[in-house]
């Protein structure tokens, strides 16, 4: 896929609307043996329109997990672009939504329109979905809005990571984004149980750059469901242990951990909400690695292998 320097390409003014949908299903999930938790899902429906492309390679993973790559021509979004994707993960399927590279949000001169991404994730009973992509990188003056809505059954499991970096560090472009809006909502059996809404921008009282206090990476991870207990324990152990006497807190990485508990009609789901701040992309990536390391068996590989 050819990467184009959209930012300097003044002609690229026609806003693009890329729509996509991918549906994974297992044939006869009810006939599976009870002890078989997950089976390899088949792609029963796959649609996409320019500039979006959805790829589901046959042999990406060593487990029954299917890896899904949403790709955007041009390697990023320009003002006015809108990407809209529905992911439907069927019963007993396990899927990973990941990426090949960071999502760049460019700024078009004279183009004040917002670049948008809307992702809907629908998880059926006993489905497992991990969303572990590369970070969003907003260039100076970019305007970005991302909405991620998860509709999950109380018998499914979710790991959703969303992270961003300050911008093009090589150009000393730190937190110069005009506006960055990210909304994550999780519904369990159609009831809203989690909402994370961040709208970052300069205000007349304060600049974003100043308020970010030298951190260059901001990340959020939501984990929830019946089959993520080991990951929750792993993250809890890493990020919520109280300090011991005299122990100093790190100033270059900060990770927070909040437990989540969702009561449904049938059961109580456990989960957690992790956020991290890191002083460099490399440090931010080390946190991402810590989070994903507990998932490699389930995913059948490491989506971040040989990166960063």
């Amino acid at each position: 896929m050819g990467k184009r320097a959209m930012e300097s390409n003044g002609e690229e003014k026609q806003p693009r609307l890329g729509k996509g949908r991918v549906t994974l299903e297992v044939s006869n999930p009810r006939e599976m043996k009870r002890e078989t938790k997950y089976k390899r899902g088949e792609v029963v429906s796959l649609q996409h329109s320019y500039p979006l492309r959805l790829m589901v390679p046959e042999n990406a993973s060593a487990s029954s997990c299917r890896w899904i790559y949403p790709l955007t021509f041009g390697g990023g979004l320009v003002g006015g672009d809108m990407i809209d994707i529905d992911y439907n993960i069927g019963e007993k399927c396990v899927a990973l939504v990941t990426s090949q590279e960071s999502t760049k949000v460019y700024h078009c001169k004279g183009h004040s329109a917002v670049s948008q991404q809307n992702f809907n994730y629908n998880l059926s009973d006993d489905a497992f979905l991990a969303v572990l992509g590369d970070p969003v990188v907003c260039f100076a003056d970019a305007r970005f809005k991302q909405t991620q809505k998860v509709h999950m059954s109380s018998r499914s499991s979710l790991v959703l990571l969303d992270w961003m970096t300050a911008g093009r560090m090589a150009l000393k472009e730190l937190w110069k984004v005009d506006s960055y809006h990210s909304l994550i909502e999780v519904y369990v059996d159609d009831e809203l149980v989690f909402r994370d809404n961040q709208q970052l921008s300069d205000t007349p009282c304060h600049t974003l750059q100043h308020a970010m206090r030298g951190f260059q990476v901001l990340g959020t991870c939501v984990v929830l469901g019946k089959d993520v207990e080991h990951l929750i324990q792993h993250l809890k152990h890493l990020y919520s242990r109280p300090l011991t006497i005299g122990q100093q807190l790190r100033t270059d990485i900060t990770c927070s951990f909040s437990p989540l508990e969702v009561e449904t009609k049938e059961t109580t789901l456990q989960g957690c909400y992790v956020r991290f701040l890191a002083a460099s992309t490399r440090l931010g990536f080390s946190v991402v690695k810590e989070i994903t390391s507990a998932l490699s068996d389930m995913l059948g590989g490491d989506p971040f292998a040989n990166k960063y």
């Binding site: 809203l192 989690f194 909402r195 921008s201 304060h206 807190l249 100033t251 951990f257």
Partner: protein, 220 residues
């Protein structure tokens, strides 16, 4: 005159809402060595005010508007709860809201106030604050100003107790930062609770780490 006196009573530190036991993340930020100079402190308080404006004020306003509609208040309370996944902020909010609802219902003896302490599950502070002010007939503008002034006062008072400011310096800082409040209120005055958001996340993440601290003065 009556309203002003009511407002003074509600916003007085003697009115037991327990605000003094919260630092809104300042203590954790200090221990994370993020508050080294007075400028850092001003930045912190500005961020606290901006986040209160973009996240809490929408709940204050809607609860104020629907102060006698229990069903809507319950929805707001629930929305506030699922929108505050930061468990430190969540418990600080519901603790203060609970104290305020209980105190207000005992002090002012109005039916609408009783339903706040009995009818809301989480009793989040901005929801209770807006509803109490609405039930008592205070003007919306004063309600918002009073909420924001509480945030400024709480953080500045915490800074004094954390030995980051002297008492006179603290009042000087408060006098300066208070001037930001009208602008923050104006920018968020029509924001809906559905759109309540965090504007500056760093202090929120640092607050989220509060329970990791080995020794602490504050509850949040």
């Amino acid at each position: 005159m009556e309203q002003t006196l009511l407002l003074l009573q509600l916003s007085d530190s003697a009115f037991p809402t327990g605000g003094f036991s919260h630092s809104l993340g300042l203590e954790s930020s200090v221990q994370h060595r993020q508050i080294l100079h007075t400028e850092d402190l001003k930045s912190f308080i500005t961020c606290a005010l901006e986040n209160a404006g973009s996240f809490n004020l929408p709940f204050v306003r809607e609860a104020y508007t629907f102060c006698s509609d229990l069903k809507t208040l319950q929805q707001l309370d629930r929305l506030c709860n699922v929108s505050t996944a930061n468990h430190i902020a969540n418990r600080a909010s519901s603790r203060q809201g609970r104290s305020m609802a209980d105190t207000a219902s005992k002090v002012f003896q109005a039916d609408d106030l009783h339903q706040l302490s009995s009818g809301l599950k989480h009793r989040h502070y901005p929801v209770v604050f807006g509803a109490v002010c609405g039930c008592l007939g205070l003007p919306l503008e004063l309600t918002r100003a009073s909420f924001m002034s509480g945030v400024a006062r709480t953080t500045v008072a915490s800074a004094v107790r954390l030995d980051k400011l002297g008492p006179v310096e603290a009042q000087k800082t408060l006098a300066v930062l208070q001037k930001l409040i009208p602008d923050i209120i104006a920018r968020n005055q029509s924001r809906s609770a559905e759109d309540a958001c965090i504007t500056f996340p760093v202090m929120d993440v640092l607050q989220n780490c509060h329970d990791k601290l080995f020794c602490k003065l504050f509850y949040s």
